[in-house]
């Protein structure tokens, strides 16, 4: 049976959605209860910057893959 590699991309995007929800809640808590001080602001900034770095490398990797190519599953 042949499957497209894009199936992994769909699973990846579903997991990413879950992480996105967690990220939104994290940032909300930090903003709402973090008392508007420098330490909190610094940590939020570092968190967002690291997220963007991961997003950058993820997009770079995803765009390098041919998602239309297929692979074969051997069913016994």
């Amino acid at each position: 049976m042949e499957l497209s590699l894009s199936i992994f991309l769909i699973i990846y995007l579903i997991c990413l959605l879950f992480i996105l929800i967690m990220t939104i809640f994290n940032l909300y808590h930090s903003w709402r209860f973090g008392m508007n001080n420098f330490t909190n602001f610094l940590m939020m900034s570092i968190y967002i910057v690291i997220l963007f770095v991961i997003i950058f490398f993820s997009i770079k990797f995803i765009s390098s893959v041919d998602w239309k190519s297929t692979f074969e599953i051997i069913i016994f």
Partner: protein, 185 residues
């Protein structure tokens, strides 16, 4: 809107005596654990490349790449969660009361407080080698009535905090006794 005060209900002339979080060692342990978790995929990949031929398959490479991306998203998100747990869990001693602000999980935040004159007993405990070495431990505060006890968890210098609290409680009770509010206590 973000809170402009340390805790909701802070009175305008309420003086903050001490603000406490968990000891820095607790945060350090978390940072160290996440540092190990960040390095883990590189070590695993190194082992797999050296001892197997798995990465010669395109599918394995693609799955590993996607897994790596998700893994780092998870790690950084969980690390920020751990930081928030550390940073938003605070215990405050004011001139009027003791406040406990605790971020339980993503959807639960608990703020509790009680007046200084309600405190009946304050004890500190430092258990274990590392707490003894780094001077951190718990402070247990018991109040009058059926209200549950407060615990300042893993704070720095618990014995000093206990002394400060006992002094404050005696001072507050003295004032209230003079005013005739606490005649029976």
């Amino acid at each position: 809107m973000p809170y402009s005060t340390l805790f909701p209900g802070q009175e305008p002339n309420e003086k903050i005596i001490k603000l406490m979080r968990r000891h820095w060692w607790i945060l350090f342990k978390t940072i160290f654990l996440y540092f190990i978790l960040i390095l883990l995929p590189f070590v695993l990949k190194g082992i797999i490349i050296n001892y197997t031929v798995l990465f010669e398959s395109e599918v394995v490479s693609v799955v590993f790449g996607l897994f790596l991306s998700l893994y780092y998203f998870f790690i950084i998100t969980l690390f920020f969660r751990a930081w928030l747990d550390y940073y938003l869990d605070i215990w405050i001693i004011t001139s009027e009361r003791v406040v406990n602000v605790e971020q339980k999980n993503l959807f639960s935040r608990r703020i509790a407080s009680f007046r200084l004159y309600r405190i009946q007993d304050v004890t500190a405990d430092v258990k274990g080698i590392l707490p003894t070495f780094f001077h951190y431990g718990n402070v247990h505060i018991q109040t009058a009535g059926a209200k549950q006890e407060f615990i300042f968890k893993q704070i720095s210098d618990p014995y000093t905090v206990t002394k400060i609290l006992i002094k404050l409680v005696n001072w507050k009770k003295g004032i209230l006794n003079k005013q005739g509010v606490l005649q029976n206590n």
